[in-house]
């Protein structure tokens, strides 16, 4: 029964992005910055490190696909990038000892990577007119700040949750 908590936690994280968007006034900072919540993605990274990498990749595929279909309509983007970055992270954490402060740097690196890949894709399919400088100032910085704050608040609860879940599954 307790095993059902894992998908539940992931589903909560999945919807947390859009719930944040409901509360966050979109015209904050006069529209000069566009902070994008990546809470689900942070949860996925925690899962890959403190729970199990392969399960995280499977969840990345599944929920990336849902994200594509439900929110963006551009099939394949998150479906592909979520698992790929989870894989890269698992390789990185093998070399770097994953204490929470070190992991913050890795998470921020991953989010920057994700944003840039999605930006690249959007330029490729001509869905955006932003130049790279604009993208870096308007989006990337704001995204990193917002998600860094989320990490600082939720890192310990998330780690504990996944460590506990791992015990349940073992």
């Amino acid at each position: 029964m307790k095993k059902a908590l894992l998908p539940l936690l992931i589903i909560v994280l999945f919807y947390s992005d859009s719930v944040f968007m409901i509360f966050f006034p979109e015209q904050a900072f006069n529209g000069a910055y566009i902070p994008v919540p990546r809470f689900f993605f942070i949860g996925l990274l925690f899962m890959s490190v403190f729970f199990d990498r392969n399960t995280a990749i499977k969840y990345g595929f599944l929920f990336g696909f849902l994200f594509d279909m439900f929110y963006t309509g551009l099939l394949g983007a998150y479906f592909f990038f979520f698992p790929l970055i989870v894989y890269i992270t698992s390789k990185l954490t093998k070399w770097l000892h994953s204490t929470l402060p070190v992991f913050l740097v890795i998470v921020l690196f991953d989010i920057a990577l994700l944003e840039m890949m999605i930006y690249g894709l959007n330029v490729l399919v001509q869905r955006t007119a932003l130049s790279f400088e604009q993208f870096a100032f308007v989006r990337l910085l704001a995204v990193l700040v917002l998600n860094g704050l989320f990490y600082i608040v939720f890192a310990i609860p998330l780690r504990n949750a996944f460590v506990k879940l791992k015990k349940v599954f073992d």
Partner: protein
């Protein structure tokens, strides 16, 4: 140093890249509506989204109300002055509507492009990655919503329905960067001027209305509405007001910068307009027949 990718993983990686390209190609195709597996996934995800976002939306609007409470007095004053004008306006509108209906009966043209039936909908999600300016609403095919219908708020037009599933639909806002995002519009004045709403100026926060003939005189502050030409948009939905005219690069036409009447941000409730006259073009089968007949001549 450990090997980064083993052979098996390399194959998986390459396989997924091919899948990625194929799927992106598939979803970028110019298609009328999404396929049934997508609809199914949307309905299931939308069900969960509904459960999550309705309470969240309620909490959000509660706080919004509290914030608004501070300005109640000023608002009340303003509204009271409007109210006096409103009574007169209402009786005028009722009289004109009756006139209009009678005259239409005389002309035997009872339906017009401006008639529509509004469907109320609540916004349950906004695309959290904020690249495409898409919102999801809680009404779908089961309520009669179809792709390309106009979506508006009380203030004016905000976008059009991009895709529908049984119980949800996705709306593309006018501010989205998409070359297929076009709306036929007109500028009201002594002579009506037609153009296309196409594109959005991010910096100035203005819509661009293109293809306006270069000899047409447009004044600042003139109202822009939908023209009802082409597609299923009703006529006369407010889009905004003209703020500036700029000649286009070849000088053959002009572009008007239009300040949108409705805000594209923090949308909560929207209306989808279902136009009463929709059968502009003959059904697809009939159209083919027409072609065949023409060839036969």
């Amino acid at each position: 140093m450990p090997q980064f990718f083993t052979n098996k993983r390399l194959i998986i990686l390459l396989g997924s890249i091919i899948l990625l390209v194929a799927m992106i190609g598939f979803s970028l195709r110019d298609r009328d509506n999404i396929t049934w597996p997508e609809k199914f996934v949307k309905d299931v995800t939308g069900f969960g989204q509904n459960i999550v976002s309705k309470p969240a939306g309620a909490v959000e609007s509660f706080f919004g109300d509290i914030r608004r409470l501070r300005h109640t007095y000023e608002e009340n004053e303003k509204l009271r002055s409007h109210l006096e004008e409103l009574a007169q306006l209402e009786s005028d509108v009722a009289r004109l509507e009756k006139d209009n209906a009678e005259l239409r009966k005389v002309l035997e043209k009872e339906k017009s492009l401006a008639d529509y039936e509004p469907i109320q909908a609540t916004v349950i999600a906004r695309n959290p990655d904020r690249w495409y300016e898409l919102i999801t609403i809680d009404q779908g095919e089961s309520n009669g919503i179809e792709p390309d219908m106009a979506v508006m708020t009380a203030n004016g037009l905000v976008g059009k329905v991009q895709s529908t599933s049984k119980f949800t639909s996705t709306v593309q806002l006018l501010s989205a960067h998409d070359s297929q995002n076009r709306v036929s519009a007109l500028i009201q004045g002594e002579t009506t001027i037609y153009g296309l709403i196409e594109g959005y100026d991010e910096e100035k926060k203005m819509l661009q209305m293109t293809k306006i003939p270069s000899d047409s005189k447009v004044k600042k502050g003139q109202a822009v509405t939908t023209s009802g030409l082409g597609g299923v948009f009703p006529k006369g939905l407010v889009i905004g007001t003209v703020t500036e005219m700029v000649p286009d690069e070849f000088g053959l036409t002009q572009t008007a910068l239009v300040e949108p009447a409705a805000s594209f941000y923090d949308l909560e409730h929207v209306m989808v307009s279902k136009r009463e006259i929709t059968g502009v073009l003959p059904e697809e089968e009939d159209r083919q027949q027409v072609l065949v007949e023409e060839e036969g001549l």
